[in-house]
């Protein structure tokens, strides 16, 4: 019923607005709303320093959500994010304890461990046809078990290398945090891969209908496995950056990133069923989630309230535009 009216209004709008995904527009509108609400609470909310600080915090989530988005575009999900993040951070810090060679290889080694987790996920999903939700929960449990054995149940004592700290907190360009630059680079690469390469088109194709993609002569299983490996690697890289930010790794550091990363991707208009979604939406989702978290902490909301608001906001926004078509 409302489709015709929306169409009528949209026809009168400039082309770039007409082409925009309503979900992405909604997400950006919510960001503006949150900025407005935040500025009512505190004057400094709209200051450039504060906003850059928010962008820096957002970039950790942004790196992790990029991997999650790839997997969700396939119509799968990666629930091994919490311990992929922790494994990346812990292994990078652990490598740093092995002399100068270890320090030099700390970051690649952390990412490599995340890629390994992702490959196990990918083999399970692509070749063994295990539902991704299940196999990634299982690898998450195994990764947790490995880290508990490795650390003895305590947070490891090794600290982050100077390079990790520089990546997370330094300034290569004045006033622009390195973490933000990294997110921009990863984001640009993702946009390029998704829209300009065969791999990217295949990801969308598999998300729409894997059977059709397979019949078109694509080795869909290899693509799925690579996507999971990339997701694991990006989660671990997010962990490396977080370890650099906090200058050490911690046991449950990844727990706070599972729900936000899924929420950021889905709130950005990427269909949880796969095959549809844009990176711009994910960027909007990440900023939206970070601002929401920031406002809740400015309001000095306790953890319990944060969890509740979080869950309610996600369900509410999904009900607004994330619904599956009615079965007919």
């Amino acid at each position: 019923m409302s489709e015709t009216t929306i169409g009528g209004i949209a026809n009168r709008m400039p082309k770039f607005i007409r082409r925009a995904d309503p979900a992405v527009v909604t997400a950006f509108a919510c960001i503006v709303l949150l900025l407005f609400v935040g500025s009512l609470y505190s004057r400094s909310f709209l200051s450039p320093e504060y906003l850059l600080q928010q962008l820096k915090v957002a970039s950790f989530l942004g790196v992790i959500a990029t991997g999650m988005m790839l997997v969700i575009l396939l119509g799968q999900i990666d629930l091994s994010v919490p311990w992929s993040v922790a494994v990346g951070a812990m292994m990078a810090c652990a490598a740093a304890a092995y002399g100068p060679v270890g320090v030099a290889l700390a970051i690649p080694f952390g990412i490599f461990c995340g890629v390994l987790i992702g490959i196990v996920n990918g083999i399970g999903v692509a070749y063994l046809r295990i539902p991704s939700m299940i196999i990634t929960l299982a690898t998450n449990a195994v990764a947790q078990g490995l880290m508990v054995v490795y650390t003895g149940g305590f947070s490891p004592q090794d600290s982050a290398t100077a390079a990790m700290r520089y990546l997370a907190t330094g300034f290569a360009i004045p006033a622009v945090p390195n973490a933000v630059i990294i997110w921009v680079l990863i984001g640009a690469a993702t946009v390029f891969v998704l829209s300009r390469t065969g791999f990217g088109r295949t990801v969308y194709g598999i998300g729409n209908r894997e059977r059709a993609a397979y019949l078109s002569g694509i080795d869909t299983r290899r693509v799925v496995m690579i996507a999971f490996a990339v997701s694991g690697g990006l989660s671990a890289f997010g962990g490396v950056l977080l370890a650099g930010y906090a200058s050490k790794a911690a046991q449950s550091m990844g727990d706070a990133y599972l729900l936000p990363s899924i929420a950021a991707v889905v709130l950005g208009g990427t269909s949880i069923l796969g095959g549809r979604g844009s990176y711009l939406g994910t960027v909007a989702g990440v900023i939206l989630i970070t601002l929401l978290q920031s406002i809740l902490s400015v309001m000095q909301m306790p953890e319990a309230g944060r969890q509740i608001i979080y869950g309610v906001v996600i369900v509410a926004m999904l009900l607004l535009y994330g619904r599956a078509p009615a079965s007919r």
Partner: protein, 326 residues
Amino acid sequence: MKDWRYWLAEQRGTLLAFGIFIVMFAIYTSNHPAGFTANVVQTASNKGVLLAFVAMAQTLVVITAGIDLSVGMIFTLTNCLASWLVIGSGVETAFGVAAVLGTGLLCGAINGAIVIYGRLQPIVATIATGAVYFGIALLLRPFPGGSVNEGLADALTGRLFGVVPASLVALLAVVLVVWVPFSRSVLGRAAYAAGSSEMAAYMSGVPIRRGKFTAYALAGLLAAIGGLFLTFFTYTGDAAYASGNAYTLFSIAAVVLGGVSLFGGKGSAIGAIFGALAFRTIGDLLFVFDFDPLWQPLFQGVILLIAVSLGAFGLFRVRNRLEWFL
């Protein structure tokens, strides 16, 4: 084929889970320093029953081809609630138990409403509602504490006639009161049909929505019964994020071990119960063999990984490669 063969084919998963459990439990008790005594059985059943309730809850949802990643959080929430309400005189305690179970039912109903009538994906929707339930649990119990009617708690965690663990009897009662009527009712059939093929069920005029909704709501109720028993065992309420998450994870492992298909439409809560008991026993095997407890999370994770990989054997029976892609 004869009737019993059909029955055997249908119950294969359940029987396999039962077999695994018996073997594991035999290994466990024969290596336990105290041996096969009423005490050992009581402790083991008290631990196993908690997971069995949560696994039953997960089964109901998995049968409809959904998943409930909030069962562990409903379990935690009802544990915290019970540590406030299930106390005092007989009437007060009864009221408290009813309130706790009602809360679980409500949580499950909310999940069901969001998934079925809101048409959201069960994974994302239940992760989000799980966050809400955990938040409420944290409001109720920012720090571990509280108390419970100890008379009732001891009665339900002790032994009947000195030999039978009371918790096992309670589990049996719940199966008879909740699972058996549900699985034999029209709504239960509808839940199975929806999981097996939603389109076909819809075309046949099966009440799939009501069936799925009932499954989600009852899952909340069963998780609440689990939370209630946790309070009876520990005498306290504790909003522990890690423990809630672990129960969600283990419930999936138990369901898989119990022969319930994650694609829906196949399996039974009885299988999941034996899956849960087997999973717990496997975890406890480490203790009787004197391993460092630090290895337990890894060991359980590996078992989970193996259990879910076993489902891949179906691939060898696939004749047409297109059947890989559901």
